[in-house]
Assembly symmetry: C2
Homo-oligomer: 243 residues x 2
């Protein structure tokens, strides 16, 4: 049974300012919730689930407050157009300490589409990239659409928000790569042990203050006529060649 | 000025059965409409636009019926959460005749997410792939979300719907490649002059009847812990190595 006030609170976590004040975010669906429950260091505060999910997950959730809800109640607290069994309220991760030495990092300059940001975090996780540095213009990593698109990878990739141009200028010893419309053919790149790959905004690309810091401009040669590639697809292609 | 009946008709083109009966689809926003207007062979039947778009496009639209609409009217006919200046009603393309000889083709087995399908059509266009063969389980290429995600590439890539396993079995002379969780490392593939690359459903992958016809199984090696890659990202990565 779900109280009216509680339902309103969970629903309000769709808004960034509420998430910021409360220090929590929501995750939905059996797959993503299972990944968060399994991830070390994630603090699941509350779980709201339908009976079907509860019987399948009795073992997993020992020690966590679970509230059984009806399908109608689930609809009220879900951010999805098709609610999916379970909604969890999860404590935000601590801001990670990031070092760019001996590793490949991803830097995102204004990735504003939540689906793109989530997909990029999932791609990073696939390629073993453990840290993603976002400019303040990026979508909020705790936006429900971002969490959804990460498919659980949000629990395994460190994501940091910072003033990106300034931060990059401090990484003096690490080479900066960037996806641009002109540059070295991605197919000719060597595998990297260390580097920062910058991916730019969906429409505007990478800002001038960052482009001038780039050491290696990388391009994905166009053979057809599309004007651009989706930012997440570009990130995936470059990482598949670099890592 | 937009009549009530006309507004209702345009709005109804969001539904597949209406698009099928009427033989038209809708495209929105200055960028996509401009690409369709510029594409040879596309038949734009009607354009509904706000004053701003009309003054910027006077030259382009000679000979096409344009109706000026207010922002409020645009909201009524738009499928977008943020309507964007212009809605065009466009005649569906003829079903293309496709040959798989001397070219690289893309075959999609149940790509159900409209955003993924549109993004894949855009990726095909980027890499100069001129034909995409879809199983009947794929999203409708004329779904407004697909059209939107193609960013105009829908006008330049031939898309055919067919019973995919049967169709593949007829392409006896062309090698079939498929993205699978196990197979040859994509980085070791030779560039292709001819071939069909199969991309599978977001959750279920490629159906058994198709897997058994595959000549070359291709995989994108996983270095991290994500369970899978987004289908469009996988398509982009493999095409960047194959073409």
């Amino acid at each position: 049974m779900l109280g009216k006030l509680r339902a309103k609170y969970i629903q309000s976590l769709g808004q960034k300012k509420v998430r910021d004040t409360e220090g929590v975010f929501i995750a939905e669906g059996p797959k993503i919730v299972a990944e968060l429950l399994a991830a070390p260091g994630m603090e699941i505060q509350e779980v709201y689930a339908v009976k079907e999910w509860m019987s399948a997950n009795e073992q997993v959730v020992a020690g966590i407050t679970i509230t059984e809800v009806s399908e109608d109640e689930l609809i009220k607290i879900s951010q999805l157009s098709t609610p999916n069994q379970v909604v969890a309220v999860v404590k935000k991760m601590n801001t990670p300490v990031i070092s760019t030495r001996n590793t490949v990092s991803l830097a995102l300059d204004g990735i504003q589409d939540p689906g793109n940001l989530g997909t990029i975090i999932r791609i990073a996780d696939w390629f073993g990239i453990s840290q993603v540095i976002c400019s303040h213009e990026c979508a909020d990593m705790y936006n429900p659409k971002v969490v959804q698109a990460t498919m659980g990878s949000i629990a395994r990739v460190n994501v940091l928000y910072t003033e990106l141009a300034g931060w990059l200028s401090l990484q003096k010893d690490t080479r900066i790569y960037a996806a641009l419309l002109e540059g070295q053919d991605v197919a000719n790149l060597q595998k990297l042990q260390e580097g920062i790959l910058v991916i730019g905004n969906e429409a505007r690309g990478i800002s001038a203050a960052i482009v001038e810091q780039v050491n290696v401009k990388v391009t994905i040669p166009k053979k057809g006529r599309a004007e651009s590639l989706n930012a997440a697809v570009a990130a995936g292609i470059i990482l598949s060649h670099l890592t």
